[in-house]
């Protein structure tokens, strides 16, 4: 869990340390001994919120560092329905998740600025090719990014599938109450009936994702 948190925070929190340091000054845990009890309360307040965990009840919480990842699989029957999301892709066409009912959808949340996303991109591109003839749809959701940079990323890694342009994280928000993405990158797997069957937090691996997609495709429990 600790590892999961650190890695996730590493991805998400990159910019913030610097911002905070410059704008607000570093917040140092310095207990002022104004009174034993009140001071300790302050210390408790400080400490209990400065350490964070992206805990999720449904997560399998096996940590990921570097190339490994945290992967969760939901059995049929315990799969929450995916929200009706959609929008404009980076190339300007329309995309609706519901239109892909009957296919397994691999929905990858990414950004061109995100180092782990760059590292996992070849695996995703290769898997999209691998499942080209199967009822599997790969789609990206490009968050916190600009189209020019995102399109340049897609060219670098020869990404053959479309990506929603989602600078305001609205698609990610739509998954609130189901299985939300908790870091960048996060990959959600949606089964043929439109239910969320799996989530990978952090980088995907070629083999791991292939096995998961195959499993969901086969409809095994």
């Amino acid at each position: 869990m600790t590892r999961l948190r650190s890695a996730a925070a590493a991805v998400v929190a990159g910019p913030a340390g610097a911002v905070r340091a410059v704008l607000a000054g570093p917040v140092v845990a310095g207990p002022v001994l104004a009174g034993a009890v009140l001071a300790s309360a302050a210390v408790l307040a400080l400490t209990s919120c400065s350490a964070g965990t992206i805990a999720d009840s449904t997560s399998a919480s096996s940590g990921f560092v570097g190339g490994s990842y945290s992967s969760t699989y939901y059995r049929p029957g315990s799969r929450p329905a995916a929200p009706a999301v959609g929008g404009t892709t980076l190339t300007g066409s329309r995309f609706r998740l519901a239109a892909d009912r009957g296919k397994v959808v691999v929905l990858n949340f990414w950004g061109s600025w995100c180092a782990p996303c760059r590292h996992e991109a070849p695996a995703l591109a290769a898997l999209a090719t691998h499942f080209k003839n199967a009822p599997v749809r790969f789609v990206g959701d490009d968050v916190h990014d600009s189209p020019a940079a995102a399109l340049a990323f897609e060219r670098t890694y020869s990404v053959g599938y479309p990506s929603l342009s989602d600078p305001g994280e609205q698609v990610a928000l739509a998954f609130h109450g189901t299985v939300p993405p908790v870091a960048i990158p996060t990959t959600l797997l949606i089964d043929r009936t439109g239910h969320i069957a799996g989530r990978i937090v952090g980088e995907v691996s070629y083999r791991g994702l292939r096995a998961l997609v195959t499993k969901i495709l086969a409809g095994q429990s």
Binding site: R5, S6, A7, A8, A9, A10, V12, G14, P15, A16, G17, A18, V19, A21, V22, L23, P26, A29, G30, P31, A36, V37, L38, S40, A41, V43, L44, T47, S48, C49, S50, G52, T53, I54, A55, D56, G66, P116, R118, H119, V143, H144, S146, A148, A149, A152, T156, G168, E169, Q170, A172, L173, A174, H176, G177, P180, P181, A183, T186, E203
Partner: protein, 576 residues
């Protein structure tokens, strides 16, 4: 505070004492069993329960709490010396690179995650237990003491700090009755016995004490509530941009221990326009006059949008979450065309102010998908550029004469390997500095890179605002608790608890010859005792009460006898 607590605890114990004797005996007897002075367990005498009891007493002693508090302060030092994963992961990565041997060792000791370390948790859980274990029983003791009737009157009232005596011909039982009646009228809690009256007043002192202790527990609970279910986040938003309150949308996310991604209130905020105005003349020149972040928000995905003007100290409240405006700056917009002639980058890049008087801001631009080489730029944005002896500076925080000065690099940004890095720093270790003059660019101006690597255009600038998102369900309970604690403290300072004892006994007559019954003399002793006489003035109060009792008794005696009756001796107030 601690001394006060301990002192008060001793006083409470005395007042609450079951001891028959008030005064010095009570002081000497009961408070012997002060914390930390528990008899040590004898060898082999105490069983497991005894040891546990002893351990618990040690843990809940004030001394232990202080030691733990000190340890907590000590333990948080590495948290501010070593880079922390949760605050600045990039710095942790750098630390690993700089100290390859030491870093894994420190990591095993949770040196990069001090506030989440098991040993840190151990300290504050022990502290919490110690405080709760100290405050809870005390609370019960106080509650008991507040309900207790006054103790029996001591045998010899003359030993009390305040004492007085007089004689009256009135019979002892009648004397005591009228004294008790007076004390009741003075709103004392009165207990009578054979030959004595015991009265006590000032229970509000105990109520105040009780309130203070309960409020302290409430404060602890509120803090725990906030720590478990609250979260904090930061987000920097450029004019026109939107963010969603999800872990994905926050730049920094520090959740409480029991917060999961799905617990975040699903609102979105769009920064329509940030505007700042500055004082343009006088000694205050350049000081901010007003910041307004005009935003639009909704409280759930696709919900109706509401407008709001976010200002410093004027936060937005959405579903119990507070959104504060905590900073602002400039985000110059850059367009980068690579060697192949294609635009690979076109966006606003937030620069971070490095000084406040002119808002000179530093930032980096990374173009990882440029061909044939990755490009990187580092430099400054100057809102009002001036040249101070060949050095660039900004004279005013408003963008009156905006310029950008950049140093250009080409090579490997080190971002493709999957190792997260800050978007505000450029790792130039595997990059080559390009021979381009970092002359200041005006909006619309470009710099052409050598070797056909491409071109960068500074197309303009936008402003950004940074928001702090705080959700603390313990905030309101904490406020209530703090106010209650204050009220309790004031109450216990202002109200003193005091006891008045009256004893009356018939003195054997020197001669019973022919005299009426009234001729018998009753000696009346009045004693007074107070603890926690913070406000002072008990002496005066006692003297007044004593003479009132005397007058009352005499008055009653006189009324009953119609007239006559022996004169009582004068009141002799001893007073110390």
């Amino acid at each position: 505070m601690t001394q006060d607590l301990a002192g008060r605890a001793a006083a409470e114990r005395e007042l609450a004492g079951e001891s028959e004797l008030a005064g010095e005996r009570e002081l000497a007897g009961e408070s012997e069993l002060a914390e930390g002075q528990q008899p040590r367990p004898g060898r082999g005498r105490l069983g497991v329960v005894g040891w546990l009891r002893w351990g618990w007493r040690q843990l809940t002693s004030m001394r232990t709490a202080l030691v733990l508090l000190f340890l907590l302060a000590l333990a948080s030092i590495p948290g501010s010396v070593l880079p922390q994963q949760s605050i600045n992961p990039a710095a942790v990565t750098q630390y690993y690179a700089a100290h390859p041997a030491l870093a894994p060792f420190l990591a095993r000791l949770s040196g990069f995650d001090v506030f989440g370390a098991p040993w840190f948790a151990a300290i504050y859980l022990l502290l919490f237990t110690s405080l709760a274990g100290c405050v809870l029983p005390r609370t019960f003791r106080l509650a008991r003491s507040a309900r207790q009737p006054p103790p029996r009157a001591p045998r010899i009232l003359g030993r009390l700090p305040q004492a007085a005596g007089f004689a009256t011909p009135w019979r002892p039982d009648r004397t005591l009755e009228s004294a008790a009646a007076l004390l009741r009228r003075r709103r004392f809690r009165v207990r009578t016995g054979d030959g004595w009256v015991s009265a006590e007043k000032g229970y509000l002192h105990e109520v105040g004490n009780l309130l203070f202790h309960v409020a302290l527990l409430g404060l602890l609970a509120s803090v725990a509530l906030g720590g478990l279910f609250g979260y904090k986040g930061n987000r920097l938003l450029v004019d026109g941009d939107t963010f969603a309150n999800t872990p994905v949308g926050l730049d920094v996310f520090r959740p409480g221990r029991l917060v999961s991604a799905g617990d975040l209130q699903p609102f979105s905020i769009t920064l329509r326009k940030f505007s700042a105005s500055y004082i343009t003349s006088g000694a205050q020149r350049g000081q901010p006059a007003r910041f307004v972040a005009s935003i639009r928000y909704n409280s759930r995905y696709g919900g109706p949008l509401t407008r709001y003007d976010l200002q410093v100290n004027h936060p937005l409240n959405v579903d119990g979450v507070q959104v504060f405006l905590i900073g602002h700056g400039y985000a110059p917009v850059f367009k980068v065309t690579d060697g192949t002639g294609v635009v690979r980058f076109d966006q606003a890049v937030p620069f971070i102010p490095v000084e406040q008087s002119g808002l000179t801001s530093a930032g980096v631009v990374k173009v990882p998908d440029a061909s044939p080489r990755q490009l990187g730029f580092a430099g400054v944005f100057l809102p009002t550029e001036i040249d101070v002896g060949g050095r660039l500076a900004s004279a005013f925080p408003a963008a009156d004469y905006p310029r950008v000065s950049l140093v250009s690099y080409a090579g490997n940004l080190g971002i493709n390997g999957g190792q997260p890095q800050s978007v505000y720093s450029l790792d130039t270790s595997r990059m080559r500095r390009l021979a381009v003059s970092p002359r200041p660019l005006a909006p619309g101006q470009s710099v052409t890179l050598p070797d056909g690597l491409g071109k960068l255009t500074f197309t303009g600038y936008r402003q950004w605002a940074s928001l702090a998102i705080t959700y603390d369900p313990g905030q309101f309970p904490a406020l209530v608790s703090a106010l209650a604690a204050l009220a309790g403290l004031i109450l216990s300072f202002l109200v003193r608890r005091r006891r008045i004892f009256v004893r009356a006994a018939q003195v054997g007559l020197a001669d019973g010859a022919g005299g009426p019954v009234d001729a018998a003399v009753t000696t009346v002793e009045v004693g007074g005792l107070t603890r926690s006489d913070m406000a002072g003035g008990f002496e005066t109060e006692f003297a007044e009460l004593a003479s009132e009792i005397m007058l009352e008794v005499r008055g009653a005696a006189a009324a009953a006898a119609g007239s006559g009756g022996a004169e009582a001796s004068a009141v002799a107030a001893k007073g110390e």
